[in-house]
Each structure stands twice: as structure tokens, then as C-alpha cells.
Amino acid sequence: MSDSISATDAVVKVRGLRNQFGTTVVHRGLDLDVERGEILGVVGGSGSGKSVLMRAILGLRPPQAGTIEVLGERIDEGVTARSLVRRRTGVLFQDGALFSSLTVRENVEVPIKTHYPDMSTELRRDLARLKIRMVGLSASAGSKLPSELSGGMRKRAGLARALAVDPELLFLDEPTAGLDPIGAAAFDELLATLRKALGLTVFLITHDLDTLYAICDRVAVIADGRILVAGPLSEVQDFDHEWVHDYFHGPRGRAANGADQPGS
């Protein structure tokens, strides 16, 4: 996809980010790069500020200090930069965040209609149907309301909406939380396939160790208000920090690691 862009080209560049609620400081001087074409897994304990980081990068929450650059635009500097970036990014919120009064297909059509109002209705419909099928839903799911879908289907529909206008950068907030292991594995596989087909860069918040081992190229650990370590999984899991050690070498971490070794 990228022709003249060097391999170390960061799509998201966060420098010195500071976020606080009242007197509670969530991030103190957080730096993070997301490289083009990679799947970056962001992990951290509950309340460590993973979702706040995502909301800051998306421009939903103005930070107290620091700079955020997304796709070459400074996100903290005004509305025009944000709207430029929004067309090129897709977001999947935790429970899909589908508009409850619209059917799934209409949900997928919303970003297309917003960003490309001149597109013909027919092509827009076809495109929405294509995305619904690409995320593994049946075409008949398109005419259903979000309340008629199961949790896993809602996530897939949310992903279809996030992918509607072919974003370069995709943000996922715990995409496999609340799915059964089979559904979660299928979602991982779907993500890998879509990444290959569409050339996506993915920012992925997760608690799911299996997802980390299965699809992430790099892992970033948030703790103490900053990124402790970011790098390939093999480096990160040997990092000397109590939380990192407990996370990767606790009973669940060992199980996920062990399960991954003999396979692909």
C-alpha cells in the first residue's frame, strides 16, 4: 500500500502526554509510536488509562499537556485536523456503540454518507453489504436492529462500521472481551485477514493474552502513567517489572504462551 514511505514511519506519535481527572493523574509524560502496518497491542491493569489514551488519540478528550500526531496531523490543534483524521480512522468501541435506532446496514452506511455524500445510493448499499459480509455476518443481519443481535455479532457489526470507508488506522477497544473463546479466536483470525487484505494499522486495547500471542506485532505496556515498555512480545514479556512479570508469567500467561508455541 505504501509506496514512498519508509518502514519506520509512525502513524501515531504521542509525546509527553499528560491526562488527569481532578487530582488523579492518569498519564504523566506518556510517549508512544504506532508504526505503519503493524498491529500494536496495548495492555495494562484495570484503571491504568488504556481507554483514556485511546480517547485522547481520537481527540475525544483534550489532554492537559503533550502533543498527539495522527497520520501527520496534530490532533490537539483544532477541528480541521481532527475531521481530516476522522475520515482515515475507524473506531470499534467496547460494545460496538452501534446507533440503536438504525439497522446494521444503515449503521455501516453512516460514515460513508458523512464522508462521501456524493456516492450513489446503490453503490453505498453495495459497499455496506460488502463490509457486513467481510466481517463475517450474513447479509440478512443487515436489516436487523442492534438490539436483535448477540454481543459477538454487535462487535462484528461495529467493526463493519469502523471499516466502512477503508480507514488506514483502526482503533479497537477490547474487541474480544465478552466473547466465547471460539468467537474470540474467530475475531482474531478475522482481524488478521482484514489487515492483510486492507493493509490496516491497528491500535488494539486488550486484556486477552491469546489475542496478543495470535496477532500482535508489538505490545506496549501501560503502567504508572507511562508506557513501561513497547516492543515485540518476546522482549516485552521478559521486561523486569512486577506487573509485566505477573501478567505474562502468571498461570493464564503461561497457558496462552504454551498453547501458542507448538502451533503457528
Binding site: 453489504r129 460488502l130 463490509k131 487484505a197
Partner: protein, 369 residues
């Protein structure tokens, strides 16, 4: 700058189509791109000249090849675009037709039928809920251990005390307006003094309690529905049941009792405020002094007028609390449903208050109260 997307027959080889340019959504989507009609069938589609491709472009290539009567699999394109094309072909193939929506008139009549049956069902449900309320009230009234004092006091504050300023202000203004209205008509007969009779009868018999009930219906029925509805959608009600707690006793009874206590109090306050409003107008613009006003009240007012108004207050309280709570229990999951039920609670309780008020007025008229 990449070229704009295009597709046309190869001049050298008949039956071969060549696609060129930038086939991404920015280039394609803005102007309803569709490949130029080709003469007759084609057997080859060469897209190696396509510089950039995304899923819209891939979809259009697949559609173009299908229109030309060829297999999308045989499209020739750059190696880096191959996975995308395959993903799109996989998603497009085996497409099952979406079920057609019903014609408009079928939906229209079905909707009428639905509303009609749901009206009957709703009435039955309301009566059942009312019965449950009455029996629970009877059961708990002699068992102080089951009284939810804290919760009841909380709701007395929420629905009673906090509503007091609004009720007073609105009743005061309505009292003033009625006095003006009466004065304009009665002045022609030189009978301004009867404005006092008008305000007294109106407020003690009807307006005091009616204005209060309408304000409380709008303010409190909606709050009850939203509170209980949110709890229902977050499965708190189910959690109570599994813990052996009765959501009816816990949620409905304190609200019902609070409203039964507070609505008569609010109605009495509203009556007083309305009288003060009327008196203000009488003193300022009709020249009826406060002492004359008061003595005229004494001549007009009988206890039966006040009772005729006050007996309606607990009745309205039951209707408002029951509808508010019942609609809350009807919430199903979504946030939209909470909104719908809240609207329905306000509409139902206000209409029912006015209807009951009219029926009771006719009844009292007939029995000569």
C-alpha cells in the same frame, strides 16, 4: 498525482478491458463512478495498471467484470492487491437476497392492529399492577418491619419538597390569570366581587389538585420510569430477585407511599398559592382589599368544596406512581426503550389524571356536592 480511475476496452485486443488509475474511495466515491459501458462481452480484465486499490475499487472491479459476463477470479492485477480482491470476491459470492420489506399499507394496518391489541393488553397489565400495589400496601401496612422508611423519606423529598417551588409558582400564576379572566367578564355586570367566588371555588374544588397532579405527572412519573427502567436494563431488578428481594416492595412501595403522602400536601400548598395569586390581582387592579377578599371567602367556602378537591389527590397519586413504575418495568434493555417508556409514562399519567378529574367532577355534580 495518480490518474483518476477508468476502465475501457484495449484498442489492440478485442474482448480485453484495461483498468487504470487510482481506485480508492477518495477518487471513486466523490462522483458516482461507474465503468463506461463496454460493447459486448469481455473475457479479460487487466487491472495491473491500477496504482492504488481499496475495497470500494475492488468492489467496482468485481461488479464491472460481472457486468461484462466474466469470472471475477480471472481479473489480472498486481500481487499486492490480490488479497484484497480475494476477500471482496469471497464476501460478494454466495450473496443471499435480503428479505424485501413489507409494502407500506401492510405495515400501516399491522401497526393499527398492534396498537389496538397492545391497548387492551396494557389496560389489563395496569389493572394487574394496581391490584398488586393494593394488596402489597394492605400486607405491609400493619408490618412496620417491612416499611422502607429511608427510601420513602428520600422519595418524599424528591417528589414532594423539591417540587414545592415549582408548584407554588405555577399555581400562583394560574390563580392570577383566572382572576383576570373572571374580572374581564364580571366587570360588565358590575360584579367584580364575584371574582373571589370564582377563584375560591375553582382552586379548592379543581385547579389546586389538578395543577399539582399535572406537574407531578410530568416531573415524577418520568423520573420513576427512568429510574426503574435504567435499573431494569442493567439487570439490577433481576439481581434483586435472585437475592430473594421483592423489587415491588423495594422500588414501587416507597414511591407509591411517598406520593400518596405528598400529593395532598402539594395540592393544599398549590390551592393557597392560587388564592394568593388571585388576591394579588384583586388588590392591585380590581380594588378589592384583602379584608374584603377574606370575608368573601368565608361566605363562599364550605368544607365540602375543599373535600371535593382533596379526595382526588390520593387517587391521582396512585395513578401517577403506578403508571410511572409500571412503565419502568416494561423497559427492555436498550437506552431507546427507556426513552420511549418515559414518554409513554408522562403521556398516560397526564391524560389519565385529566380524564379521572372530569369523571369525578361529573359524579360530584350529580350527587350534589
Amino acid at each position: 498525482m495518480p490518474e483518476s480511475p477508468d476502465i475501457q476496452p484495449d484498442p489492440d485486443r478485442p474482448g480485453k478491458l484495461v483498468a487504470t488509475g487510482d481506485w480508492r474511495i477518495d477518487a471513486v466515491g466523490g462522483r458516482t463512478f461507474s465503468p463506461r459501458e463496454t460493447s459486448g462481452d469481455a473475457s479479460e480484465l487487466d487491472a495491473t495498471a491500477v496504482e492504488r486499490l481499496d475495497s470500494v475499487g475492488a468492489l467496482l472491479l468485481v461488479q464491472a467484470s460481472e457486468r461484462a459476463g466474466m469470472d471475477p477470479e480471472s481479473i489480472v492485477l498486481r500481487e499486492e492487491h490480490r488479497p484484497l480482491l480475494e476477500a471482496v470476491i469471497a464476501a460478494v459470492s454466495g450473496r443471499e437476497p435480503e428479505s424485501d420489506p413489507e409494502p407500506a399499507w401492510v405495515i400501516f394496518f399491522a401497526h393499527i392492529g398492534e396498537v389496538t391489541t397492545s391497548f387492551g393488553g396494557g389496560l389489563k397489565q395496569f389493572l394487574g399492577f394496581l391490584g398488586l400495589g393494593v394488596t402489597s400496601l394492605m400486607r405491609t401496612v400493619f408490618r412496620p418491619s417491612q416499611w422502607r422508611i429511608t427510601s420513602t423519606v428520600h422519595h418524599i423529598e424528591q417528589t414532594g419538597l423539591n417540587a414545592l417551588p415549582l408548584v407554588l409558582l405555577l399555581s400562583y400564576l394560574i390563580g392570577a390569570v383566572i382572576a383576570y379572566l373572571g374580572a374581564t367578564v364580571l366587570k360588565e355586570f358590575g360584579a367584580e366581587l364575584f371574582v373571589v367566588d370564582l377563584i375560591t371555588i375553582a382552586f379548592f374544588r379543581e385547579m389546586g389538585v389538578l395543577v399539582t397532579a399535572i406537574i407531578v405527572a410530568g416531573r415524577t412519573a418520568s423520573a420513576f420510569t427512568a429510574q426503574i427502567g435504567t435499573m431494569k436494563s442493567r439487570e439490577e431488578i433481576d439481581a434483586m430477585r435472585t437475592l430473594g428481594l421483592d423489587p415491588f416492595l423495594l422500588l414501587v412501595m416507597p414511591r407509591l407511599v411517598a406520593l400518596i403522602i405528598m400529593l395532598p400536601v402539594l395540592a393544599a400548598a398549590a390551592t393557597l398559592a392560587g388564592m394568593v395569586g388571585g388576591m394579588t390581582v384583586a388588590v392591585i387592579s380590581l380594588g378589592i382589599g384583602p379584608d374584603l377578599f377574606m370575608s368573601r371567602i368565608h361566605e363562599t367556602l364550605e368544607l365540602r368544596h375543599y373535600l371535593a378537591g382533596l379526595v382526588k389527590a390520593p387517587l391521582f397519586a396512585i395513578v401517577i406512581a403506578m403508571i410511572g413504575c409500571l412503565e419502568g418495568f416494561k423497559v427492555t434493555g436498550t437506552a431507546q426503550s427507556v426513552g420511549e417508556r418515559t414518554t409513554s409514562a408522562v403521556v398516560q399519567s397526564i391524560s389519565l389524571v385529566i380524564v379521572i378529574n372530569a369523571l369525578v367532577a361529573v359524579l360530584f355534580m350529580e350527587i350534589g356536592w
